[in-house]
Subunit: 184 residues, 2 copies
DNA sequence: TGAGGTGGGTTCATTCGGCGAACCGACCGC
DNA sequence: GCGGTCGGTTCGCCGAATGAACCCACCTCA
């Protein structure tokens, strides 16, 4: 019951039969690393958080985060380049711009929500948690893994990975210690 | 339908080590910022990813990530201090240690899974996605927001927030443009 | 007997990126 | 024509990240 979070470490084709030791030292990439290439920066994530909260203008970001102007300008530019945000003129004459989340950016919300909930759970020094609710009914949101077949949620311990071009059965780590695992 | 991801705002940086006695402005932190104080570093997140993949030893982390030794030592120490990992001697004589996820660390998996899926979806330059499955039945995992009351999943657009000490009704942003919003 | 390898670090010098301060320009209201 | 707002850029400093080198205890092999 190993939770494998990345793609093949070496090459996308097939980890085993292709000789990986030959040339490349660094594995080209995994999706988490690619994601971090875009939002893997403390400021960037906080900018995204603010964007979800409805902040859109340069100066509002700056004030809220107390971030240095050059850094903010740089991060916003990179986010726009990456396609996570769009820069949009909202008035002419004094040209003014706002930064909005694209659909790509919006889809980061599960990651941010997960982070927030983790922080609330394990790092709340006295701070009350932020409670997210299902807007239509008002009851508290849960976030989890869902199996459409079994029609049930499940915990991280029940995750296995299946790599596209390799053996379709689950990874298994014989040495894995369940004591550190899923539930407390 | 603003998705409010944070609690009270101000003070983004230096989550942990900030002097708490400085009884300054009211809300010292938000949970995302606190979480980033622990894992808000590119290397740290990659270390966590590797840990989920079953890597436990210093040198294996180092080789897999191609990270500088001092940085790895520093990050592992910080993760242990934060309670996300434990350092455990697995042999005496030449004393050797391994680093394992604690339950606190395990619970980061939703965030990492969300990140991975986002990366797979939006940043796959030709890389096939890693498919995660529900181990007992083998069908593909879905990750989403779940409402226990309505017994259904829902999208980020249906999230509202409720702050403990404030108005219990939902945040609403009149200026929000659905065009950039939830679904594509 | 030693040569070389492994695991888990630390120390040190250098480079890189974050930061605050200052500046800029187009507009506004007054 | 004075100060204020918005959205930046340039500049210089400094601390953090980095790679290289070193350390040490142990093991294998010859």
């Amino acid at each position: 019951m190993v939770v494998t979070l990345s793609g093949p470490t070496t090459e996308p084709t097939s980890a085993a039969d292709l000789d990986p030791a030959a040339g490349e030292v660094a594995p080209p990439d995994c999706s988490i690393a690619r994601a971090l290439g875009v939002i893997g920066d403390r400021w960037t994530i906080l900018i995204m958080r603010d964007a979800f909260r409805g902040i859109r203008r340069f100066d509002d970001f700056r004030r809220d985060l107390d971030i240095a102007r050059p850094v903010l300008a740089d991060r916003l530019r990179k986010l726009v380049d990456a396609g996570v945000m769009v820069k949009r003129r909202y008035q002419t004459h004094p040209e003014r711009f706002e930064y909005r989340l694209t659909p790509m950016g919006m889809e980061l919300s599960p990651a941010l929500v997960a982070l927030m909930r983790w922080g609330d759970r394990w790092l709340n020094d006295g701070h009350p948690p932020t409670i997210l609710v299902h807007e239509p009914c008002g009851s508290e949101l849960e976030q989890g893994f869902w199996c459409r077949t079994c029609q049930q949620t499940f915990s991280p311990g029940d995750i296995a990975s299946r790599h596209p071009h390799s053996d379709p059965h689950t990874d298994h780590d014989p040495d894995h210690d369940p004591a550190t695992g899923a539930t407390r």
